[in-house]
C-alpha cells in the first residue's frame, strides 16, 4: 500500500478550509474532521459542505463521534483518550475504519490489541499545534513501527522536507495540520508531500 497523507482539521474550520480542501483533496488520502469545540450539528454541517463541493466522504474520518461517521457514511472515526472505548466502537460500528491517537508505545500496543485499524502517533517534531510539549522524535517512532503490525501515521510538525525520514522510521504516512492549513501555497505544499510519499521505495 502506498504511503498516505492525512489532513487533520485544526479546530477552527471555516470557508477558507473548504476552499483549500477543494483544491487539494485529490492528493490527500484522508481528511479528519477534528473540531472539538463544535457541536454535532456544526460538524454535520461541515460534512454536508464537503459533500456539496463533491469531496468523497469515503475520504473523511470524524473525530470522536462514531454516530456522525455512521450517519454520514464517512470512512471512519478517530478515537482519542477522551473518546468511547475502541472495543465497543469496533463491536457496534464494525463498518467504520477506526483509528486511535496515541502518544507512547504502550498506548499504541493497547490500541492495536483493542482492534484499532491504525494509529496516529505524535507529536513527532515541535509543532505549532502543541506549543511547549516535548516532541517524541524519530527513534520512538521507529520503535513503535517495529512493534506494531497496523499502520502507524505520524503527526506533529512534519514538513515535506522531513517526510522522507519519517517514512524511513517506518511510518505508513504523514498526518498534517498547520503544515497544510498555514502555508502560503497549500497546493504546492501538498504536491511536495505527495512527491516524497509516492516515490518512497523503502518498506
Amino acid at each position: 500500500m502506498g504511503k498516505q497523507l492525512h489532513l487533520i482539521s485544526d479546530g477552527n474550520f471555516t470557508k477558507q478550509h473548504l476552499q483549500i480542501i477543494k483544491q487539494i483533496h485529490r492528493d490527500i488520502d484522508f481528511l479528519h474532521i477534528r473540531e472539538k469545540k463544535k457541536t454535532a450539528k456544526e460538524i454535520m454541517e461541515i460534512i454536508e459542505a464537503l459533500e456539496s463541493i463533491e469531496i468523497p466522504l469515503a475520504k473523511v474520518i470524524v473525530n470522536d463521534r462514531a454516530d456522525i461517521a455512521v450517519m454520514k457514511q464517512c470512512a471512519g472515526v478517530q478515537l482519542a483518550y477522551h473518546s468511547p472505548s475502541m472495543p465497543l466502537v469496533k463491536k457496534c460500528f464494525s463498518a467504520l475504519l477506526t483509528g486511535k491517537s496515541v502518544h507512547s508505545l504502550l498506548e499504541a500496543e493497547q490500541a492495536q490489541q483493542e482492534g484499532a485499524d491504525y494509529v496516529l502517533y505524535g507529536h513527532l517534531y515541535p509543532s505549532r499545534s502543541k506549543p511547549g510539549q516535548q516532541p517524541r522524535g524519530l527513534a520512538d517512532l521507529r520503535e513503535i513501527t517495529n512493534v506494531l503490525s497496523v499502520p502507524v501515521y505520524a503527526i506533529g510538525g512534519i514538513t515535506p522536507e522531513r517526510t522522507k525520514e519519517v517514512m524511513k522510521a517506518g511510518a505508513a504516512g504523514a498526518a498534517v495540520m498547520s503544515g497544510i492549513w498555514k502555508v502560503d501555497n497549500p497546493v504546492q505544499t501538498v504536491e511536495a508531500y505527495r512527491e516524497v510519499l509516492d516515490t518512497w521505495e523503502g518498506g
Copy 2:
C-alpha cells in the same frame, strides 16, 4: 400508558447523584444523562457506574450522543438544537427511542414530523436551571399537547404540587432536574410526584 417521570441529570454528575438514583430508580421511568461538558469517555463511565449499581439501562436516555446510546444499549437518545438531525438519527439508529427538546409549537410540530418518538417541552415554570429566561406556561403546553400525537413531557420548575395542572394541560409526564437533585429528601419527593402521576385519571 401511565404518566411518566423523567429525571434529567444536571450537568454536574457525581457520586452523590449515583446515590440518589440508587434510592429512587424504581419510581422513575427514564433517567437522562445530559452532561454537556463531559467527554464521551466520561459519559460512558457514568453509564458503567449505573450498570454497576444495577440500574437497568433500558431506563437510560443519553443526551446528543446516539453512538453511546447504541454502544451501551441504552433506551434512547435525546436530541437538542445542537444535535444531529432527527431524520438521520431515526434512519440509522432506528432501535433507539428518540426524543427532541423543543421550545415552541413550531419546533414541536417539526420534531414530530421528523419522526421524534416524544418531545420534551419547556421550560414551563421559572426554573433554577434557566434563570432569567421567560417560562412558557400552561396555555402554551395545552396548545402543543392538543396538536401533537406523540407524547409531550413538560420540563422546568415542575414540583409535585404543580404536577396535576401539568397533566391537566395534556402532558404525558414530567421531567425534573433540580426538583429531585436539589431537594432535602429525594425519595419522599419522588414518591410525591409518583402519587400525582399514578392517580391521574384524566386523558
